[in-house]
């Protein structure tokens, strides 16, 4: 028991490295917020573009979305960070992490929004069009409001999973929580900083997980 306290909950180590972990927390939150904003927006735009049913455009969207859903995020980040510079595209670790996870979230979000749009009955489209609404008006005022409600629970879950993946940014040298904790662990030869990282993630994400449960019961469909 003493051993666990010494190696995982060493108060002196905690006090010493708290500031750097907190620095990491801000980077993680900054990165996560940017990813959520750009990822959801891009996903939404892609789904709306797809609704226009222009063949070649749709093929392109489906291709990109499939690729970013199939590849592990860590593989995407490593390719962006370690392979792209060889063909003249260099990005900082932060930009790589932001871009990779934005593309991943956008891909999942597009798929979810699109499924939502499809779930609105054809008759609704036809009825709206026959009252004289244009295509865009129908999409905006009739279809999307119904579609979006259906997409809230899966979107919440997916967004949480992907924002958690910001920990992978430690692989491309972003100074987020895990990077800070690993460095501190190496300096102090003690696991306590990793415990602190775990607690930091718990503080950030536990409320979100509980929120997702509530969202599920509020917006979810009883099967």
């Amino acid at each position: 028991m003493n051993r666990i306290a010494e190696n995982f909950f060493d108060l002196a180590v905690m006090a010493k490295y708290l500031p750097s972990i907190i620095d990491g927390v801000w980077v993680t939150i900054h990165l996560a917020v940017l990813i959520v904003l750009s990822g959801l927006a891009l996903g939404f735009v892609l789904a709306v573009v797809r609704a226009f049913q222009i063949r070649p455009v749709n093929w392109l969207i489906v291709l990109v979305v499939d690729v970013f859903r199939a590849l592990p995020p860590i593989v995407i980040m490593i390719v962006f960070y370690f392979a792209l510079p060889f063909v003249g595209i260099s990005m900082s670790g932060f930009v790589v992490a932001w871009l990779s996870l934005t593309l991943v979230l956008a891909s999942f979000a597009e798929e979810i929004f699109w499924t939502g749009i499809l779930s609105v009955d054809r008759g609704q489209w036809e009825a709206a069009r026959s009252t004289g609404l244009g295509f865009l008006q129908t999409l905006r005022d009739v279809v999307l409001p119904q579609a979006v409600r259906l997409t809230i629970p899966p979107l919440t879950n997916r967004t949480i999973v992907i924002t958690k993946s910001t920990a992978i940014a430690s692989v491309v040298a972003v100074q987020e929580i895990l990077t800070q904790a690993s460095a501190a662990q190496a300096f102090s030869a003690n696991t306590t900083p990793l415990t602190m990282a775990a607690i930091a993630y718990l503080i950030i994400f536990f409320p979100l997980v509980v929120l997702s449960r509530w969202v599920e019961s509020r917006f979810g469909w009883k099967r």
Partner: protein, 223 residues
């Protein structure tokens, strides 16, 4: 264009490093064959235990599930990998990876199975019990088969995520596909192996992504 081919699709390099990549591929496959069944078994235990509706037990199970859903899997992996030696448990990296992934995936699979079991009406259980089946038999022969069918898309989706997670094991030096790709890149100073790794993941996972898109559309349309 030439630079692109030389750096990303260099056959000479690929020929040289393909034994490494092949080795990594087998490791990834083995990892999947261990992690996925372990996670499913763990998830089933969680969900079946939950279905007995013992109040204190259910609080405990929800706490367990939400706790591990709040952790980035990478953080859990690193904590287990670097933490276990400090409490005197020297384990090979494969075991550390399995422990971390079991904790993480069991909670996700558990949530899915729980939703599945709850989707089966009470009457089914009562009918099964009244024909003389025991509680366990009712669960195995009556409830679970229907429950699994109801949550099949979620199960496949989570399995896809779990397979993608295995790439995280590269961070703790487990010689799986991504790790081997990076080793090969280091040896040749050419990113072709990384591109090859990405393409292998794509070939492996794209069919699952396609299948999922179809299943999800079908279930959503049914609601």
């Amino acid at each position: 264009m030439e630079a692109l081919i030389y750096n990303f699709f260099n056959l000479e390099i690929l020929l040289k490093v393909h034994p490494l990549l092949l080795k990594g591929f087998w490791m990834t496959l083995q990892l999947c064959l261990l992690v996925v069944p372990l996670g499913i078994a763990g998830g089933l235990v969680v969900a079946v235990a939950y279905s007995f509706h013992v109040r204190w037990l259910n609080w405990l199970l929800i706490a367990y599930v939400d706790f591990f859903r709040s952790f980035p899997p990478l953080v859990l992996l690193i904590l287990v990998f670097y933490g276990l030696p400090f409490i005197g448990l020297e384990v090979p990296s494969l075991i550390a990876v399995l422990i971390a992934f079991l904790l993480n995936t069991a909670s996700y699979y558990g949530e899915i199975f729980r939703a599945g079991i709850e989707s089966i009406g009470r009457g089914q259980r009562e009918a099964a019990r009244s024909t003389g089946l025991t509680g366990l038999q009712t669960m195995v022969y009556v409830v679970l088969p229907q429950a699994v069918r109801n949550v099949l898309p979620d199960l496949i989706s989570n399995t896809l995520e779990v397979i993608k997670f295995t790439a995280l094991a590269s961070v703790v030096a487990l010689p799986e596909l991504l790790r081997m790709g990076r080793v090969a890149q280091g040896l040749t100073y050419n990113p072709t192996p990384l591109i090859a790794v990405a393409l292998i993941y794509l070939a492996l996972l794209w069919p699952i992504v396609r299948l999922l898109s179809r299943l999800e559309r079908r279930t959503m349309a049914k609601r």
